[in-house]
């Protein structure tokens, strides 16, 4: 049993509130986490941790509603979060509903869905809210029945006093409980008494999804709403000069065609406006099809306003930066130069990966209705609070008059962190003085992106006579990104370690893409590790375990600096070894990989059969340490999805450029993995360690491209250095 404080000093994580009539309504801080904090630590806690941004209501009918500030992008938090509350509140979880809280900045502070953090951040806050409500219901019952509170017990949704035989439903005591003071301290359940957390609960929105109910941004249709589409510059490095829209304007259903200044001078862009283009052409009409037709009839002149970059240029410039000395290393332990000199074997390899589009199945879109009094926006967005701010600045309206609502999202993967499409919708609606829904075609979506950067990384390793790793040098570069996490493994496990990074400026817009940086560097590092292990003559798993052992028992440098826990890392690797029946690396078609990111550890063993140059994955054994697993059936879905996604993008996908023009515009040329290419089977194993939960939306993706490349090497005798693997030119020599 853990006791947690509901307040610290005069700041409270929880308060009763008059948000709705009847029943018990608690406002709570989603981020609340005061377990085991000292007074000094508390003084340093960010203010937002105390902001009330979630609500829990126990209705008089006994139904519990949670208003979640977090948007749903497919990680199924809408199911996991009520499970946590139901657990602590002690209620049948089917009686808990989750509603998407409207963004109302006077009451809510919204967190964003990104970085696999929703559950990690919500865990303690949700538990505390559930436990507080339960405590207050017990207190209300104790007062009503005139008995001591510790004689009150609960069963799902019910309060009992055993001695007198009295009992009541939660709903009966809810209003009385709402009159009580918030307890200063509440008890949280012991992990081993959980009866909901850790059990399989199906997606609460499943029935709506399989029957095609309107859930997504594109499904928003309002009275009098018009459709809007955009034409953006055909190339990065071009801007608008003039247009002839007469023919388009005369087409049936078309209301107007005009130039939109989305970000005029004086309107400051935030990071969340990344990818937003200052000037676009808008087409507004009665229906989507009419707009698609009219779009083709608009003749727009563009001019070159910057460099028009080619993929060949990116390739050459990234390579050149790898050959350019850095000003200062990101991390340097020991003396790598000296170690390479005395090494018995030195291996050097370079890995690269192309730009990738996000390609959420639901293209970018947003509904907006702007009137002089109010701007109402609704759509799929991961950063609504940021969108509100930019819209307020752009429309020159006070923040209170901007209302951003969120729909379910047809995929995120980082793309919907960048809400320029919401700003575009608002500006178009204002100009039209009408409600509009902005819709990107797939082509618009793919060619105006916040892409995964193109990357290149060079590794160099030195082994001594006995096959021990004595030196490791990594140097990485990306477009508008510097790729390297200098304090991740194997930092701390090698005496002589050097990490260096560069950043190549490019006008091709980039941003977060599922597991930023890790999505490439993990596979590169784990492929290289495999090659080094082979050169050392050791089993690839043993080779890694020796390094973890070193980081545990005798770490190099300040162990506090190392951004990983070697024991948990080794834990997943051992688990994957055991479950897959690892054979010491003798199997012809099997590869291994392990990585840590987003606070979770993942190790994978992969078996495949080559079909020509195509890897057909027979099975993946995936060991995951993400702390407590709230909802295993859905957690496994995330793991499987990350694996399919990682295999698909590393093997098949790329976005290339000629004169600044993206060469892939739709799924006929941009190859995504399909069902027949997905692994036949993924078996997932979770480490049961009772540690507070960490993220799952991302961690299974990064390492899989390493396991795949390593297995492909076993099967073909060729190492894979370039993504997408299927296009890799044979390396000569």
């Amino acid at each position: 049993m853990t006791l947690v404080k509901t307040s610290i000093g005069r700041r409270s994580f929880i308060r009763t509130t008059g948000l709705a009539g009847g029943g018990l309504v608690l406002g709570f801080s989603w981020l609340a986490s005061c377990k085991g904090k000292t007074e000094a630590q508390v003084m340093q806690m960010p203010k937002e941790w105390f902001d009330i941004n979630g609500f829990l209501k126990v209705g008089e009918n006994g139904l519990v509603t949670i208003m979640s500030p977090n948007p749903e992008i497919g990680q199924n938090i809408k199911t996991a979060m009520p499970m946590i509350v139901a657990e602590e509140l002690d209620i049948d979880w089917n009686n808990v509903l989750v509603e998407q809280a409207p963004l109302n900045t006077a009451i809510f502070t919204r967190q964003l869905a990104g970085g696999s953090q929703s559950i990690r951040q919500g865990w303690e806050g949700l538990r505390m809210a559930g436990a507080t409500a339960r405590h207050m219901l017990k207190t209300a019952a104790a007062e009503a029945w005139q008995v001591p509170i510790d004689e009150i017990t609960t069963s799902p949704g019910m309060l009992h006093h055993e001695a007198s035989g009295k009992q009541a439903g939660y709903g009966d005591m809810a209003s009385a409980a709402s009159q009580l003071d918030i307890p200063e301290e509440v008890e949280l359940k012991d992990n081993d008494t959980f009866s909901i957390v850790g059990t399989d609960r199906k997606n609460v929105d499943g029935p709506k999804i399989v029957t095609g109910k309107p859930l997504f941004g594109l499904d928003v249709y309002e009275e009098g709403m018009l459709t809007a589409m955009i034409i953006h510059p055909p190339a990065f490095g071009m801007t608008f000069t003039s247009m002839d829209a007469d023919a388009a304007k005369a087409m049936p259903g078309i209301k107007d065609v005009f130039l939109v200044d989305v970000y005029p001078e004086g309107v400051e862009k935030q990071w969340s406006d990344g990818g937003g283009i200052p000037q676009l052409v808008a087409i507004v009409g009665e229906s989507t099809w009419q707009c698609i037709q009219a779009k083709k009839a608009v003749k727009v002149q563009w001019e070159k306003s910057g460099t028009l970059e080619d993929s060949d240029y990116h390739e050459a410039a990234l390579t050149e930066m790898l050959d350019t000395p850095v000003e200062a290393p990101a991390r340097a332990d020991g003396d790598v130069a000296a170690a390479f000199k005395k090494a018995a074997k030195v291996i050097e390899r370079t890995y690269s990966a192309p730009f990738l589009a996000h390609n959420t199945m639901e293209p970018m879109n947003f509904y907006a209705h702007v009137t002089p009094d109010m701007a109402v926006l609704n759509g799929p967005i991961q950063t609504p609070e940021f969108l509100e701010k930019t819209v307020a600045a752009r429309l020159d309206m006070p923040l209170e008059k901007i209302d951003v609502q969120m729909t379910r999202m047809g995929g995120g993967f980082g793309r919907r962190l960048y809400g320029h499409f919401g700003v575009e919708a608002a500006v178009i609606s204002q100009k039209m003085n009408a409600p509009i829904k902005l819709v990107y075609t797939r082509e618009d979506d793919m060619t105006q992106g916040t892409y995964r950067p193109a990357y290149k990384v060079r590794y160099k390793a030195g082994l001594d006579e006995a096959g021990n790793l004595i030196a490791w040098h990594v140097k990485g570069v990306g477009t508008n990104d510097d790729l390297i996490f200098e304090n991740r493994f194997p930092a701390g496990a090698v005496d002589n370690y050097l990490a260096e990074k560069h950043n190549l400026t490019s006008n091709v817009t980039t941003g977060a893409w599922r597991a930023p940086r890790s999505n490439f560097i993990a596979g590169a590092e784990q492929s290289f590790m495999d090659e080094v292990a082979e050169a050392s003559g050791k089993d690839p798993i043993d080779f890694r375990l020796e390094l973890f052992d070193r980081a545990m028992t005798n770490p190099v440098g300040d162990p506090e600096k190392n951004d990983y826990d070697p024991a948990r890392y080794a834990g997943v690797l051992k688990l994957a070894r055991e479950k897959s029946g690892w054979d010491g690396g003798t199997n012809k078609n099997r590869g291994v990989s392990a990585y840590y990111c987003h606070n979770s550890y993942v190790a994978q063993v992969l078996d495949l059969t080559m079909d020509g140059n195509k890897p057909m994955v027979d099975k993946v054994w995936c060991a995951v340490d993400c702390g407590i697993v709230i909802n295993p059936i859905s957690a496994k879905n995330q793991v499987e999805g990350g694996i399919v996604d990682g295999i698909g993008h590393a093997t098949y996908s790329q976005l290339t450029f000629v004169d600044g023009v993206p060469q892939q515009k739709n799924y006929d040329t941009y190859q995504l993995i399909r069902g027949a290419e997905a692994p036949k089977e993924v078996e997932t194993f979770f480490v049961d360690n009772g540690i507070d939960p960490t993220g799952l939306g991302e961690p299974s993706l990064p390492p899989i491209s390493g396991a795949l490349a390593n297995a492909m090497y076993k099967a073909t005798g060729r190492r894979y250095y370039q993504q997408p693997y299927i296009l890799q030119k044979p390396i000569v020599g």
Partner: protein
């Protein structure tokens, strides 16, 4: 513009649109049937799959003028209470992540099983290969199709 009478989910619906309008946009923009999704518009992803006389077709490339009085079934009309064996199997396996592609997947799977109630794993793979799921739920999709096939045969 021209007037068309369509047979959708067993009902007769009249609309006045450009003859080249794809059924996808007729459904979504004019008939308030938004379960059929837009993904690519060029018959590459399967998000827009509906049944035309029981055959799975891409509604994004199917013009309204080409349909005549052939029967169209959308996800909304697949079953009355969301209890078609394929829908039930989808819930049992807990297939969806973001959910956006799933209506198209279900429409492809249900038309396929109607024609081939006893499919092999390979046949399932082939039949479902035209439907992209960006969230990568393919493994569960295959599993759910198998379960639906078995319930159909039970």
């Amino acid at each position: 513009m021209a007037t068309f009478t369509l047979n959708i989910n067993g009902e007769s619906r009249e609309i006045d649109v450009d003859p080249n309008t794809p059924i996808l946009w007729v459904l979504r923009d004019h008939l308030n049937l938004v379960g059929t999704k837009y993904g690519c518009g060029i018959a590459q992803c399967g998000a827009c799959t509906v049944h035309l006389e029981g055959t799975a077709v891409r509604s994004c490339m199917l013009t309204v003028s080409s349909v005549g009085n052939q029967k169209i079934t959308t996800i909304e009309g697949l079953s009355e209470n969301g209890d078609h064996p394929v829908q039930k199997a989808w819930l049992e396996v807990d297939v969806p992540q973001c959910g956006y592609c799933q209506a198209g997947q279900i429409m492809t799977a249900s038309a396929f099983l109607e024609k081939n109630p006893n499919p092999t794993d390979e046949e399932i793979e082939m039949a479902m290969n035209g439907n992209i799921c960006r969230c990568g739920t393919y493994i569960r999709i295959k599993k759910a199709v198998k379960i639906a096939a078995n319930t159909n045969n039970a």
